[in-house]
């Protein structure tokens, strides 16, 4: 049964209240290493949003028209990850051919994305939650935007943090994680704004 969830609500929920990174901890790997620099954060955020939306659509179609009819649901992890890896490769080649300028700002981040758990996470969530096509697109796009918002915000905070006197042991990943914790708390504040029901 497809859950009866309003797409608009789903979009806001996936950006703010249930942010893929801050509430579900997905996509941390590249997040911490890249978030030091504003420009790269922006590029990576855009790349994640694009790839996330694209692969979620592809995976949804494969899931509904191939995996479920053929009773191959148990192979979904392999199929999803291959779709993601292939999409990233193809996208990289296409961008390289079509627009070298865009490649410089977006393409170089693409290889980082295959191992971004957020991408596979969204594919698995849309399968287990039985989303319709529209819900899947909205959820994937919202999750991407949410991730983008989180990494850009963190990059901005990190810029100020460079000047702060942080104890030697805490500097680096330690203080970054604690900062993310405060951001997660702030994002919880959004949950009063809407409910998925």
């Amino acid at each position: 049964m497809v859950p009866d969830i309003n797409p608009v609500v789903l979009l806001f929920a996936s950006i703010f209240t249930s942010n893929i990174l801050l509430a579900n901890f997905l996509g941390m790997c590249s997040f911490i290493s890249i978030s030091k620099d504003m420009k790269s954060s922006n590029g990576l955020g855009l790349a994640v949003t694009v790839v996330l939306t694209l692969t979620a659509m592809l995976n949804w179609v494969l899931l509904q028209y191939v995996l479920i009819p053929l009773d191959l649901l148990y192979l979904r992890y392999i199929i999803f990850i291959i779709v993601i890896a292939a999409t990233v490769q193809i996208l990289e080649m296409v961008i390289d051919r079509v627009s070298p300028a865009l490649y410089m700002s977006l393409g170089i981040f693409l290889p980082l994305i295959t191992v971004n758990c957020a991408i596979l996470g969204v594919a698995l969530f849309m399968q287990i939650r039985n989303y319709s096509f529209v819900q899947t697109v909205v959820f994937a796009f919202g999750s991407g935007l949410g991730w983008w918002l989180a990494i850009v915000t963190l990059a901005a905070i990190q810029k100020k943090l460079v000047k702060a006197p942080v104890p030697a042991g805490l500097s680096g990943p330690g203080i970054t994680l604690i900062t993310i914790g405060f951001m997660a708390m702030a994002f919880i504040g959004f949950s009063g704004m809407l409910s998925v029901q």
Binding site: M1, P3, D4, I5, S18, N24, Y74, L75, I78, F125, I128, R129, N130, Y131, S191, S195, V196, Q197
Partner: protein, 202 residues
């Protein structure tokens, strides 16, 4: 053959992909029956628990289920049975949680005054947060709860509401939206049973 040659690369990729998928199909085939049995047992167990029967690890669920629901019809809106001399109405429910569909079974006394039992069959809420609706303390709160006017899932709390007469159960701390969903689902289901029973029995 050259190790980095095209033919060798393609060959190795295809062969290993085929091999891994083949092994997986074997593993899947070998456990398929077991998984289906698990699903069936979970559902049978939910019906038993919802009718107020205590089920523990040693219970022969299949046999007990057959004797409790001899004329079980999977598609019926509700089942009636008699447990310890009291007649019980048991019905499967389905509704939206925070993330997806929550399904389960709820049992009520035949006068629809009190809930007899409540059991979750499947849900996709966040593990450790909304997912705690599947924990025993939460489900046990529904036992004997007075529900003639519906129930209220209270925010905060989190320890379990012990009073069966107030129609209130404690929600899950930190998962207020899943708690709200449970309240909506249970109340809608009670209304639905009322209508069903009113239409056929009276």
């Amino acid at each position: 053959m050259k190790k980095n040659g095209l033919i060798y690369t393609v060959l190795i990729s295809v062969v290993s992909a085929f091999l891994f998928v083949f092994l997986l199909s074997l593993a899947y085939g070998a456990t398929k029956g077991k998984v289906e049995e698990n699903t069936r047992l979970t559902e049978a167990r939910a019906y038993l628990v919802a009718s107020g029967i205590t089920v523990d690890g040693d219970t022969d669920i299949e046999a007990l289920f057959k004797s409790t629901f001899p004329g079980f019809d999977k598609d019926a809106a509700y089942q009636t049975t008699t447990v310890n001399g009291k007649s019980v109405v048991v019905s499967p429910f389905q509704g939206n949680g925070l993330w997806g569909t929550i399904t389960g079974v709820i049992g009520m006394t035949s006068d629809l005054q009190r809930i007899v039992g409540f059991e979750i069959v499947s849900h996709v809420e966040t593990p450790g947060l909304g997912g705690r609706i599947d924990e025993v303390w939460f489900k046990d709160q529904f036992k004997d709860e007075y529900a003639a006017n519906g129930i209220v899932v209270k925010h905060g709390g989190g320890g379990g509401d012990k009073d069966p007469d107030n129609g209130v159960v404690d929600g899950i701390t930190g998962a207020s939206r899943t708690s709200d969903s449970i309240q909506t689902i249970v109340n809608q289901q009670i209304d639905k049973i009322k209508k069903e029973l009113g239409g056929t029995n009276q």
